[in-house]
Symmetry: D3
Subunit: 224 residues, 6 copies
């Protein structure tokens, strides 16, 4: 197995990335046909964290964060790191010093299917992290991995340059090639939901608004 660092990756239009973030995870996930959601155990380290960024990916051995140091150099403004361990691990790969380094390079946050530490500092710095666990256990720097290769993180395939959208509902990945069209569909949903929200808020029932009654009866639902 060759370990590589891919130095040149394509990134999506920053305006598209920003737009996806404004729509939020649940809407973006729906807009792209319910694909790309990371496992629900990926949780933000503080409430209200929000992220939309271009992925710089890391494939790392268990308990070894060497490749994060390598990845920092590949980060530019508007990127987020996405780390997938090659086997399950909950060690704290990441803390406040690495966040300081990443913020200096314009990094927007971290998605890590493993552990993170210094969460109080990270919260105060406003550096958002979605992780599988919080754990003070440190890591070593002995074994290589790769940077900017496709990884499977928490059950979802993430390519370098894909767009990561994350908030309190979890984390979703959007293919770079599909970002523009997903954004358009997501904005249509946002617009459509506005009208629905008004009608539901006025007391109209979803049963009527969505015209569900006939289909429910046809399926055999009995009111008793």
């Amino acid at each position: 197995m060759t370990n590589v660092v891919v130095q040149h990756i394509e990134r999506a239009d920053p305006a598209v990335i920003k737009g996806l973030g404004e729509c939020g995870v649940a809407t973006v996930h729906e807009a792209q046909g319910r694909k790309g959601l990371l496992a629900a155990y990926m949780r933000p380290i503080y409430s209200g964290a929000q992220l939309s960024a271009s992925a710089v990916t890391i494939s790392a051995p268990p308990g070894d964060n060497w490749m994060i140091h390598v990845a920092v150099e590949q980060v530019t403004t508007g990127d987020a790191l996405v780390l997938a361990p090659t086997s399950p691990c909950q060690d704290g790969y990441f803390g406040e010093l690495l966040a300081t380094s990443l913020m200096a390079r314009g990094c927007e946050g971290l998605i890590i299917e493993a552990g993170v530490r210094d969460v109080r500092d990270l919260t105060q710095m406003g550096f958002p992290v979605w992780s599988k666990t919080i754990c003070a256990q440190g890591t070593v720097k002995e074994t290589l991995g790769s940077v900017n290769v496709p990884v499977i993180c928490a059950g979802a395939l993430v390519n370098p340059g894909d767009i990561i959208v994350a908030d309190d509902d979890g984390v979703c990945v959007v293919r770079r090639e599909e970002a523009q069209s997903v954004l358009e569909k997501a904005r249509e949903r946002v617009a459509a939901e506005k009208e629905k929200r008004r009608r539901l808020s006025d007391g109209e029932l979803g049963l009527d608004m969505y015209k569900m009654r006939d289909r429910l009866a046809a399926k055999g639902l009995k009111y008793v």
Copy 2:
């Protein structure tokens, strides 16, 4: 299996429901002989959430939230929805639009042994939810379930019209028929604890206040 919506259910006295909520989950659970507690994995989506309400129950297939739309029509002021999937599922059955609709009908909150999404919006709306997980994954509307039938939710039997008490400690169900007597016992506990709290706060030991020393010695505890 017939799928039904039971339209008329008995509800407890609103003053009793309110009173139980003031006592809190831990006290109510004790007062009724330590029964009715839902599994500890049922957690509020925000700290400080509190609920006491009359249950409108939903039995729903995995990954299908159609019956929530049906249940909305059965909700009246002071009710809470209680959803149990027919097999384990963590999909996000519920979000901000359904909450908007429920709030318009006076619904107090949701207990769901599955997933919920739009948690940032729900938090801002002040619509409390206790769920098994937070997950942006949506659901379909293809398969029937039932509304206002007895369900087992997170290990506890909930009948329609039972009282749900929920707070940061979890969720407890009180039988409608027992609500008045449970409230009385709960209030007795609250009153008794006030005096105990004062004495403990003054430095008296529980060993003395509860007269435990003789029984500990009789069981064989050795001080060395």
Copy 3:
């Protein structure tokens, strides 16, 4: 098996205990050679909780909190309780009345590999607890355990009088005999990190600061 309460234990210098707390869990854990960390499922009941204290240990049967009442008498200012059940249990061994009693004796907090309840009250009282779960289920007082004996709590050995350091990153135990030297090493780390933070914040890469490039190349990392 004899159940005992050890009444006289050695405690570390309060200034050392305080100093370890200022360094935080992640730093202390590193400073003592990455040992003594409790399992990552031990989480604080509220964000920002911090603790550094001398351990009073409890070995308790599942679902039985009698020994906590016994342990209260052994607590003095600057202590924290550390409870390990003799088999896995998530019952709520501990609540607001016990916390009231402990605060009256100067207790700093609780580490419990089981459940806790009244978390809203405990949060308002500012009594920090790190627990495996939050659960309203109460316990009985029927079976003896021991106080101030060595226990294994969440995978770590804790002796009475050992120092417990806990924060948002988790819980770490420091041997009493090693506390002074661990503190010295921890403070060295804090000092060293200050300079590293400044350099990273100025945009210097860890790859350069830690002189990693040659070793990465020697291991075979390819830049493409």
Copy 4:
């Protein structure tokens, strides 16, 4: 809370119980409308274990098996014990001595949402157990529970006298009042499946046998 032993319970017809066992868990579960299945973590201690019996239920405190001794006296030929702890526990409530006693009384097996031990002996004795875990940790005899009251075991309501069917697929409970009709439906399924099995074995496709092609097309499935 009063602790009781209900001494006289109704039992179903032994021929019906036997018949349900012959149909197996998956078929019985389908035949009664997909209800009554215990959680999938309930596993047999040996492959090939099979059980159909009348339930004698036990509600027991965590880590306390006293009520099993009480329940033994209530067992008669053709019964199985069903134990639900009042809070989650994995201790080994049950071993070879209790099994010896139960076999002497004609007991068919045990369903326990907790731990069991002496599994090698139990396997050699042919005493089937479905449990949540295998664990050598013993229990005490200090706290009362109840025998032959309704319990919720692994997420399913079990009344004394209900029929328990268990095999390699898990555990299902059938209401005593419904046992006869469930058996009839189960036998219809077995008969219907025989013909389906023959046709499928001959190479006929389910798509054709179940006439699914039109509905798939109507839903929009594309063959490419």
Copy 5:
């Protein structure tokens, strides 16, 4: 989202597939650079199960096995089904009737990141299944999925036509394009291990055979 059935897929050389199976999961996984392993919770329903086959993939909704019926038609001799649910689910998607149908078409087995039932029958039929759980809970046929599209199953990307190797150690996927070269490397490993096994069996130490002593000393290992 469009639901499709891809009818024509490329398959690897049957001799290569067979050869990979003879090497076993652990060896194949090593030979291809430690990639392609499915999560360790994928376990065979019986000990000694072995599989090497060409993947026919299924993306299926939670609790809905309609697409398995669709996939059967796409199976030919030497194939195995690989099912990934679109959200986590443990329902029993698969049982003895579907296995009968698949065996009639020459199918070698099933990999399913969900539940399976009728395991006693499947064991007797010798139809191997690796699943996340065993569960009698049935599924519906209401919602479409897709057949022969890339899926992520238990954390690994599986393309239609990739080779699946499975045994008691778990499940590994090999890219079709790499199958020949992986087989060659795997056979080299098997050959090399034969000689190592002989030497170790004769009492030679790995420390000497792998010449580890100098490197251990250089890293600082102390013998005391």
Copy 6:
């Protein structure tokens, strides 16, 4: 942290070790006052596995099995390896080649709070392993650990030279210094159980044999 290999350890009398194994895990655990049991997730890779041996301990980094190779040299006839990772890991640290080497040195088996692979081969060789998981994922040889230092394995403290007893019920550790007295108590239990077994087999009730009726009545149990 210094990494060491302790070359000379004390071992218990082989006859005592053998005797403990004959009593089995559940009995030994009871005989020593219910201490020393490893967590219930430690399971044998095949049914019927049995072990009683002297512990050679390994503290190993996550995903790194180098120290097993080091430990092999320290093994003598009648020893078992006990491996505890320094943070949770499920990688397959151990397989058939290492087992071949260990068998050549008279090693009795392995206890590993991590993963194992080649389980089919290990089963055929009759080399018993109790592990947390089965996983084909291999490990590296980059980072030092220690051999024959005290470790906490699956929640239990194990010193080098302690006695490990393991069977289908799990794994228990006995302090070397206490082995003789534990064996005596275990044998007393075995003898006492023989008579109890006979009486229970003859139909005598535990309620009578253990004289429980008065105490049950005194605690308030009601027969109805």
